[in-house]
Every structure is written in structure tokens, then in C-alpha cells.
Symmetry: C2
Subunit: 252 residues, 2 copies
Amino acid sequence: MTDEPSDEDWSPPLVMLAVDLVILTVRERTLRILLVERGVPPFAGMLALPGGFLGDEAEDVRLAATRELAEEAGLDATTLHLEQIGAYGAPARDPRGRVISVAYLAIAPRLPDPVPGSDAADARWEPATAVLSGQLPVAFDHREIIADGIEQARAKLEHTTLATAFCHENFTITELQHVYEAVWDLRLDPRNFARKVRRTEGFVAPAGTPRRTGSGRPAQLFQRGEGRVLYPPMTRATTATVTGTPGEETAG
Amino acid sequence: MTDEPSDEDWSPPLVMLAVDLVILTVRERTLRILLVERGVPPFAGMLALPGGFLGDEAEDVRLAATRELAEEAGLDATTLHLEQIGAYGAPARDPRGRVISVAYLAIAPRLPDPVPGSDAADARWEPATAVLSGQLPVAFDHREIIADGIEQARAKLEHTTLATAFCHENFTITELQHVYEAVWDLRLDPRNFARKVRRTEGFVAPAGTPRRTGSGRPAQLFQRGEGRVLYPPMTRATTATVTGTPGEETAG
DNA sequence: CGAATAGTGTCTATAAGACATTATACT
DNA sequence: AGTATAATGTCTTATAGACACTATTCG
């Protein structure tokens, strides 16, 4: 970011700035993403990521994301994990003009269905695989954004404790395993999984009530531990795909 | 990204879009970053990342990055590894007005010094640690961007073959080890390192000339392999820091 | 021959993968 | 009792960490 002008009174072009939200949760042992049905053109009637334009010129980008999280999804950002995915800036990605979108990844525990009549009336939890496969079409370049966001979540599950963000305050080891299985779309061995989780310093900590619901033996309850990093990492035997850079291909 | 207006003729605020480049290389066994001395306010005389505004309204963001790479650093993007770091959008990050910056990470092999009198006349390779420690001050929020970029590179060295992007077409195992040591700022055992590299499928492949320079035994030459992913990963014994989301803090 | 750098081998400790059994609840 | 889920243990194998020796060049 240095001097620009060879021309003396050149001034930079102006663009519109949007935020888009990839909000993930686990329901019915399946990774799901929150999509909204668009009410207006372009892509009216089609499913798209929740999001919107920067509210005003002074609004912080991340704040815009938390605002849209509340407005479009009825979710409280202070409860959720929220991190940036990246910027998407292809010139023709929005027919309305030059729109740069900053995408965010949000992770939510299982939530009640969006209430009809509320802010998030037209929001739906759709299976991630349906979107990734292209079976369920989405507006704009949102499929690419979704793919990047999901891969980011998948990767972070390997070497961070992010999985706990999919869980409520108290959870069982089995529930945590279901998170891994849903996000990675594979099965894990419960014995090896439990061993890994319990022996990894700071991943989970025992929680109050030592028992719970059910038809079988009651499970121990846990809460998030202090640690953020998993070392050694949790491994998904499936050889991982290396993720490109958000918004475009990697050169050279 | 859905409907916005409760107001009928509301229109989104316009912002300026910039790109900033974190260009890394290894020199004298040290990780270094390319910085330029600013010629004009704000922050005139201070070191800053190479970069600039979007050239025109139709320019792709990534293209703007490759253009600045050529203009400000005299580097050819087709040769280099280039990937996005993220978007930085704090409202007051640039005194000139509302500027959103998309930061890119570029990895270059050891290059000749910037030629005085060329495009990159005021460019300098500075040690990464000096910037990270704050000992060498930089303009804007560039220190944060640099920290994120370097951490991204450090993390990618663990589970991808990115290290080869720091090397020329042909390189020795020892040179590759120096890359890891410089980027991670630690020492590795040459025997274990060589074993790891040679046994990891697709990391490196033997290259033509089986010998080379020097005062000791000539080293075998290698080139990048086909693989992009390192599995199992290369480990930096030092417990890693979990990287936040670019441009802002992670919420609850 | 000595100095310098490259390359290889062995032992050990840690952790992952595969797998079976016991424990505690419910009906 | 029978069923369902939770919890734990053992054996094997892969790989990282620590460490010492041999090989090939140059002067």
C-alpha cells in the first residue's frame, strides 16, 4: 500500500462491500448449513447464504457479520464461534455491480428450527452434502464460499478444539464423536476416539452432573477445556484435500 | 446476501478496496519479508507492505495482487506461490477513508536484491522476527497482517508441501531443511528430517543432475513432487499457537 | 590427510488402528 | 432377563525423537 498516482488526480474505484455467512450445525448426525430463500432479484426464489451489505460507511466488517447473524438467522454472535473465511471479489460475481464479499464461518450447536414469522422465517437447515455436490443449487458464487467454509471447518477440527463449538455447554464424548463424524462424513471407532479425547490435555473437562438421560448406561458429561490446540492432531484417515485460497485459484 | 431495504431507496455504502502483499523468502537462513518505504502520506517514510488500490472497477482482486506484485516488487506472479490471507476492514485502519484491504501471501525463492532505480527501488528484505516483535515498526495495521500471513505460512508448512515454494526448481534436502528452520525459527535434526522428506510420498522427486557445488560431499538434487498434502504432517515440536481469524478477534 | 558436508542405520517412546469385554442403566 | 449405551483394556504397527557412523568431495 504505497503511492498510487502516476496520474495526479487519480482516485481509487469504489466498490460495494457485503458479508456472507456460512453457518454450520449438526442435526440428525448430519452437517447442515443455514440457507435463506431470496425474496428479490437477482436469484429471487433461490437459496443463498445469509448476509448483506455493510450497514453504513463506519461499520466494522465483523460487526456487519454479527448484525446479519442476528437479523437474518436470529442468532446471537456472542454465543457462537465466528471466524473469517476470506474475501470473494470476482468482478462478475454479483449482477448488481461490483460487490466484494467477506465471508464468515459460524458454528452453532443444535438449535430449534427457525420460527416462521420471525426474522429468520425463510431460513432452512440444508444438508451440506447436497450443496457441495451441486444437487441443491445456490445463488451467486455461494457454492464456492460454502465449500471453502466447510473445508476450513473440517481442517480446524483436526488440530483445534473447534468441535466443541458444535456442542452445547455440557456434552458427552459420544456427542462430540457425532460432531466429528458429521463434519467429516465418516465413522470413527468409539474406543479410540474416547481415548484420544480424554488423553488430550485441555480438550474437555468433566462437567457437573455426572450422569444423564437415556435407555442405556448414563454418560459422563463434559465441557470445553482450556486448550485450543490439539497436539497431536485428530486424524481423519481419509487423505485430506489441500484447500486453495478463498475466492480464486492458486497460481504457480 | 438477501434483500436489504426496509427503506426503499437505501443503497449500500461504497468503500475503497486495496490489496496488500506479504511476500516471504529465506535469506541467510532467516525468514524475511519484503517491505517498501512509503514516499507519501499517510505514514510517509515508514515501512509498509507492498500493495495498492484496485486499478479499476472491473479488475479482479487477485489480479490486482499480481499486478502490484509486478509493479512494486518486480516479481512475476506466474512463478510464485500466491494465496489469500484474508480481508482487513476495521473502520479506522486507513486515515484516508474507508479502505478494505485484501491481503495475500506470496512465497518466493531467494532472489537478487531489489535493483535501485527499478520499480522496486525502495523495497527491502527485512527479518520477519524484527517485524513480529515490534522492533521494526510498520504502517497501518500491517503488523497484524504480517503476523497472520506468517502464521499461515508456518501452519501450511506442517501439512502441505509449501516449503518447496521457497526453493528454486532444483534443491537439496538440506536447503529444504533450512526453509523449515528459517520459517519456524528452530533447529531440526538432519537425519530425521531427511527420513521424513524422503519417505513422504510425493513431497520431492529426484532431479536431473545428481551432484553439485561445495566443499564437502556433493548433495543429491530434488524437485517438487506431485503431492500437495503431507500426511502425516511435519511436526514442529513447539506447541503451535492457534491462529485467530484474519482482521479481528474470535468471539465467544 | 584433515575438514566439511551428505547420507544412512538403530534403538526407543509415543500414539494410532484394530478389536472384545465389562458396566450401568432401561423395559 | 434382555437390550441398549457407556466405558475401559490389550495387542500390534507406524512414526517421531534421539543419537553415531560411513561416504564423498575439496584443499
